[in-house]
């Protein structure tokens, strides 16, 4: 489904952010990418949709070689790749609905976008998704009036409006408190399963990664140093990825979800 082969990125400053990253994912699932700051996580997911142009290597999504596409074809390919950001990156002066509908910008014409006249099926899908992420009744609220957790929910709705095959998620919880982080991650994972998307999540919180990801890829200095399931993450693995530290408290000990008490209703109320 997604195959990355020998991907490298060297910035004009000479910094080698990625040094030959290769991995392959064959089915829709949640894959967490962990690694210290500067290990190339953000560069990696931006090289996949070419917001950052990779230096060499290839990215193949559903038999389409993204790295070989021209500008027009790349825009078309980007429609199938939703992206979610640490800083939410909503257009602040637009309403929640306009932000959600911006996920359809790759599909509608210029005049439709200019007059904000989206096809009725897009609008009803946006309403459904906003309800689903717990923002019922918020559609006419301006984005700059929302809290962090609410903004990230709009971000998720915007990405899913694209009808994506692949979700690229860059530190979705790094600006959120621990409880909201868990709620947002749970929502993200549930929706990925519902929509059948492959979801790549950059994440700093190893505990969250273990809790929610089917597979974990560890990056260090632009190279893959670990690739396995959550259970395979040991203190030795974390030392390989991050360096020497006391990891005994970081490894998740309880294998199944310890927070099933919170349902979506409380999630909405809390955010």
């Amino acid at each position: 489904m997604l195959t990355i082969t020998d991907l490298t990125k060297t910035y004009p400053t000479g910094t080698a952010a990625l040094k030959g990253v290769s991995f392959s994912i064959s089915e829709p699932q949640v894959v967490a990418i962990i690694g210290p700051s500067g290990s190339g996580k953000s560069t990696l997911i931006r090289c996949i949709n070419r917001l950052i142009e990779p230096t060499s290597g290839s990215v193949v999504l559903e038999d389409l070689n993204i790295t070989k596409l021209g500008r027009r074809k790349l825009r078309k390919a980007r429609r199938r790749m939703g992206m979610i950001f640490q800083e939410y990156n909503l257009v602040e002066r637009l309403t929640v609905m306009e932000n959600a509908l911006s996920g359809r910008l790759g599909y509608v014409s210029f005049w439709q976008a200019f007059r904000r006249k989206f096809p009725p099926e897009d609008v009803s899908k946006a309403f459904q998704l906003l309800d689903r992420v717990g923002l019922e009744g918020y559609h006419d609220t301006r984005a700059d009036a929302l809290s962090g957790g609410e903004r990230q929910r709009v971000g998720i709705a915007r990405a899913l409006m694209q009808n994506p095959a692949l979700l690229l998620v860059d530190e979705p919880t790094a600006s959120l408190d621990p409880k909201t982080s868990r709620q947002v991650m749970r929502l993200l994972v549930e929706l990925s399963k519902e929509f059948g998307t492959l979801t790549l999540v950059n994440i700093h919180d190893v505990g969250l990664a273990q809790m929610f990801a089917d597979r974990i890829i560890g990056l260090r200095l632009g190279e893959v140093v670990f690739d396995g399931t959550a259970d395979q993450v040991t203190e030795q693995v974390l030392t390989d990825i991050y360096g020497e530290e006391d990891w005994s408290a970081t490894i998740r000990k309880v294998p199944e979800g310890d927070d099933d008490d919170e349902d979506e209703a409380t999630a909405k109320a809390a955010s």
């Binding site: 980007r78 950001f85 257009v91 790759g106 915007r158």
Partner: protein, 276 residues
């Protein structure tokens, strides 16, 4: 004696008191004080060489008094000429602001480094810098030479000035936009025109309108000035009254200009207050 104390201190490992002072703008004291001395020396040199003729100031004072006494009472009898001049100035200001607002959009977009390739950016910025480097009066003289006396030269002058002012503000506003929003909209597969209308325009519009209204206010003031070199409007009427020694009519015009600028300023503040 001191050396033995220092020696014994270092033996007993008592740390010497550590010095701290704020970072000076110029660290080297010779440069620092040298610059101050140079500045004072130049000031003295300038004052002594400018040949300020105190006797001319002395003889000028009664003449000033004479002009002021001949100014009062202001003469509003030629009100039709006055209103025609004022209206022409307002029209010059409105037309210049309108075309300036439109022309500033492409120039401002091309002058935003985060939107366009470097060559386009450099060309747009050069146009902005070049037109900004000339004062309105100089541009007005130029246009009067080309198109002759009258409001056309005034309108063209203020279009140039408004365009580069609004364009510069717009470009800087866009450059200050958070990069993440642009990145997010690009990531949806949106083309550049859609990025413009869906992300840049909603974020930049309120400030663009605010700057444009401010520029309208400024254009009303400038339109009275460019007339003095013959580019139409009330300024041209004013210049004529001075050459004909009609000082009482001059005062009437000056009072009307003050009133006009007051109204312009009030309107501009009111609109910009509502935009927030």
């Amino acid at each position: 004696m001191t050396t033995t104390i220092e020696a014994s201190n270092s033996q007993n490992n008592v740390p010497a008191p550590r010095q701290w002072h704020t970072i000076k703008l110029i660290e080297n004291p010779y440069y620092r004080y040298g610059l101050i001395v140079l500045a004072i020396a130049y000031f003295i040199f300038a004052v002594t060489t400018l040949e300020i003729d105190w006797s001319r100031i002395y003889t000028g004072l009664p003449r000033a008094g004479d002009i002021f006494t001949r100014m009062v009472p202001p003469d509003f009898s030629r009100w039709s000429l006055l209103t025609r001049g004022i209206l022409e100035s307002v029209q010059i200001a409105l037309a210049a602001s309108f075309f300036g607002m439109i022309l500033a959009i492409p120039l401002g977009l091309c002058g935003a480094r985060n939107l366009v390739p470097k060559p386009v950016y450099l060309v747009a910025r050069s146009i902005i810098v070049l037109t900004r480097s000339f004062h309105e009066i100089i541009i007005a003289i130029f246009f009067v030479k080309i198109f002759g006396f009258g409001p056309l030269a005034g309108v063209l002058t203020l279009i140039v000035a408004s365009t580069n002012f609004i364009a510069k503000m717009l470009a800087e506003d866009i450059e200050n936009m958070p990069a993440g929003q642009l990145e997010a909209i690009r990531a949806t597969g949106a083309s550049f025109p859609k990025l413009l209308i869906y992300c840049i325009s909603p974020q930049a519009l309120p400030r663009y309108l605010g700057v444009s209204i401010y520029r309208l206010d400024a254009n009303i003031r400038h339109s009275t000035v460019v007339g003095i070199v013959g580019a139409g409007g009330i300024g041209q009427v004013l210049a004529a009254t001075f050459t004909r020694y009609d000082y009482d009519f001059s005062l009437a015009i000056l009072m009307c200009i003050v009133g006009l600028v007051f109204i312009g300023e009030f309107f501009s503040n009111w609109v910009r207050g509502r935009l927030r």
